[in-house]
């Protein structure tokens, strides 16, 4: 039987009709579909790099554990067992118990959400404060621009710890104190690092062209300046996030960070560091988590910087 039989033709037609519809070409996409397409390319580019993949896995687990900890932990945080202190890892206590007999794994799980909250709030605060300072520094009002540069150079010399200690007077040991102290310090740092790139963009011909077309200074800042300092800001935000995790541990140890009783990695470290000679594992677990998360945050920033910038990611340029 030849292929030309009616039956074969019909089956061919039905096969053709069953073929998946061809997806739209990137240039045919608009609005949120286009944004999603670009986001997909950024994620895919990061996934194809070892460091990007590592950071995405670590940060993904962190976020997932934080969410799960809101509903479930292997043991109750307040279930202490005086007869079972410094216990080794077992089926009941996956990472052992601390000096009060509380489950180390449950406390680290619950602590992850506190640290995630601190990191997110600190980055948002630092980003808003830093970008406000960048806007002042590239202002066309020279007195304002020069004044803000001098003010930032003066303020950046104040250590974050000192700010946190001063804030502890009215606020006591609190998450808000960590967020304000770290956000303030990193905001200043972000502004100082982003300033040269922002100045280049603000004084460029394309900004002049936009201004001559009637664009306002605010519009120019949000459309041209921010777009061109985005790579620097991404890296600074990732550094800020990493150092916020470290600062939480440090400030909590000094007694001006997360109050005792609230689960956090810093609290876990602080409560067990005195007993490092008795049972080092309770210190090693939170220390290890803090180290891995800080490394992942830094690598995530670098990977995102490369993937999200059309100048360094040819896939993003071709995908337009």
């Amino acid at each position: 039987m030849t292929d030309a039989t009616p039956h074969n033709t019909q089956s061919k037609q039905s096969k053709q009709s069953k073929q998946p519809r061809q997806s739209k070409r990137p240039e045919q996409l608009h609005g949120w579909r286009r944004t999603l397409h670009r986001a997909g390319i950024i994620v895919s580019t990061m996934w194809h790099h070892g460091t990007g993949r590592f950071s995405m896995i670590v940060l993904g687990i962190w976020v997932l554990v934080s969410i799960v900890s809101l509903f479930w932990t292997p043991q109750s945080l307040w279930a202490t067992d005086g007869y079972n202190v410094w216990a080794k890892p077992s089926r009941t206590h996956w990472l052992g118990t601390d000096g009060t007999g509380a489950d180390v794994f449950s406390w680290l799980m619950a602590g992850s959400r506190t640290n995630l909250l601190i990191v997110l709030l600190t980055v948002i605060f630092a980003l808003a404060f830093g970008l406000l300072l960048v806007a002042l520094m590239v202002s066309r009002n020279t007195a304002l621009a020069h004044g803000s540069v001098v003010a930032i150079d003066a303020l950046i010399s104040i250590p974050t710890v000192l700010i946190a200690l001063m804030l502890a007077v009215p606020l006591g040991a609190s998450i808000l104190g960590i967020v304000i102290a770290c956000g303030f310090g990193y905001g200043l740092n972000l502004a100082r690092v982003a300033r040269p790139q922002a100045l280049l963009a603000a004084r460029s011909m394309y900004v002049q062209s936009a201004l001559s077309n009637g664009a306002s200074a605010t519009r120019v800042f949000f459309t041209h300046v921010l777009t061109n300092i985005r790579p620097v800001v991404i890296v600074q935000c990732s550094l800020c996030a990493g150092t916020a995790v470290l600062a939480e541990a440090g400030l909590t140890y000094l007694g001006v960070g997360v109050p005792s009783g609230v689960p956090s990695w810093g609290v876990s470290l602080t409560s067990s560091v005195k007993f490092i000679s008795i049972y080092p594992m309770t210190v090693i677990w939170p220390g290890l988590i803090v180290t891995v998360v800080v490394v992942a945050l830094n690598l995530f920033g670098d990977a995102l910087h490369d993937a999200a910038d059309p100048l360094s990611n040819p896939r993003l340029r071709k995908a337009q």
């Binding site: 009637g214 664009a215 041209h224 340029r317 337009q320």
Partner: protein
């Protein structure tokens, strides 16, 4: 109708100084210049003669130390001229010397060309109403300067040649059908082969919008001869000669103009 009725932009007794009292340097001395609708005026002179400063003042990008700039017969200077300056900005386009510096490196050509349309005030009749209209006008402008829209609308400046990037800059300047186009040495950063394409792009935009006045700053007399109707020769901040292109280039009166022509023909 006399020529004066047709004047769209006029600089009257313009002087400009830069620097503080101690380091004051005057770059323009009592300059009078005008451009009519549909006319192409070339401002020529050596580097540092003040031609770019003059054109920037004419387009309201710099404030003169003395004198006045009139757009459609009304001053653009001071508080009283603010509304007229806004109108001038809405109705003018600029092409800069270096296309790679004048286009945002992180914006696609389509986004750059669309920017002037998005900045038009809501009540402006030339304003495109939605993304589809903007897209159509961007494609039209790119087509006009000889760049296939399908190929270039989503391309970044780093993936273009100098000539292509400059034509995108021209498309951005003409997309809103301006009444005045300022081209500040648009060919000096472009290789010779691409200059023809730039000239073609400017000629096409004139053909499309015959009432558009062009002010072109250049020291390339070949380019000027090709496109300009009238020439203003500027030397050390003063206009030394002006007239039609044929008059100035064929029968120059001033020694400086003769020197410029002699150097250009070498």
């Amino acid at each position: 109708m006399s020529e004066h009725d047709n004047v769209i932009l006029e600089g009257a007794n313009i002087s400009k100084s830069f620097g503080t009292k101690r380091t004051r340097q005057q770059v323009l001395f009592d300059v009078n210049v005008h451009v009519c609708a549909g006319e192409c005026l070339a401002v020529i002179g050596e580097s540092g003669s003040g031609k770019t400063t003059l054109t920037r003042i004419l387009l309201g990008l710099e404030t003169p130390s003395a004198g006045d700039v009139l757009f459609s017969g009304a001053s653009i200077e001071g508080n009283a001229g603010r509304a007229q300056l806004k109108l001038l900005r809405e109705q003018s386009g600029i092409v800069y010397q270096n296309p790679f510096e004048s286009l945002d490196p992180r914006w696609t050509a389509g986004r750059s060309v669309a920017e002037p349309l998005r900045l038009l005030p809501k009540q402006d009749s030339a304003r495109a109403r939605d993304d589809e209209q903007i897209g159509a006008r961007v494609a039209d402008a790119l087509e006009l300067v000889g760049l296939p829209p399908a190929e270039f609308v989503d391309r970044y400046p780093m993936d273009m040649s100098g000539g292509q990037a400059q034509r995108v800059a021209i498309a951005r300047a003409i997309v809103k059908n301006p009444r005045i186009l300022l081209a500040d040495e648009p060919m000096s950063a472009i290789d010779v082969a691409a200059r023809v394409q730039i000239l073609d792009a400017l000629a096409a935009s004139r053909e499309r919008n015959p009432q558009m006045a062009i002010v072109i700053v250049s020291h390339d007399l070949g380019v000027v001869q090709n496109i300009a109707d009238r020439i203003v020769v500027i030397h050390h901040g003063r206009i030394v000669e002006q007239g039609t292109t044929a008059q100035v280039l064929n029968t120059p009166q001033e020694h400086y103009t003769k020197e410029l022509i002699a150097v250009a023909s070498m």
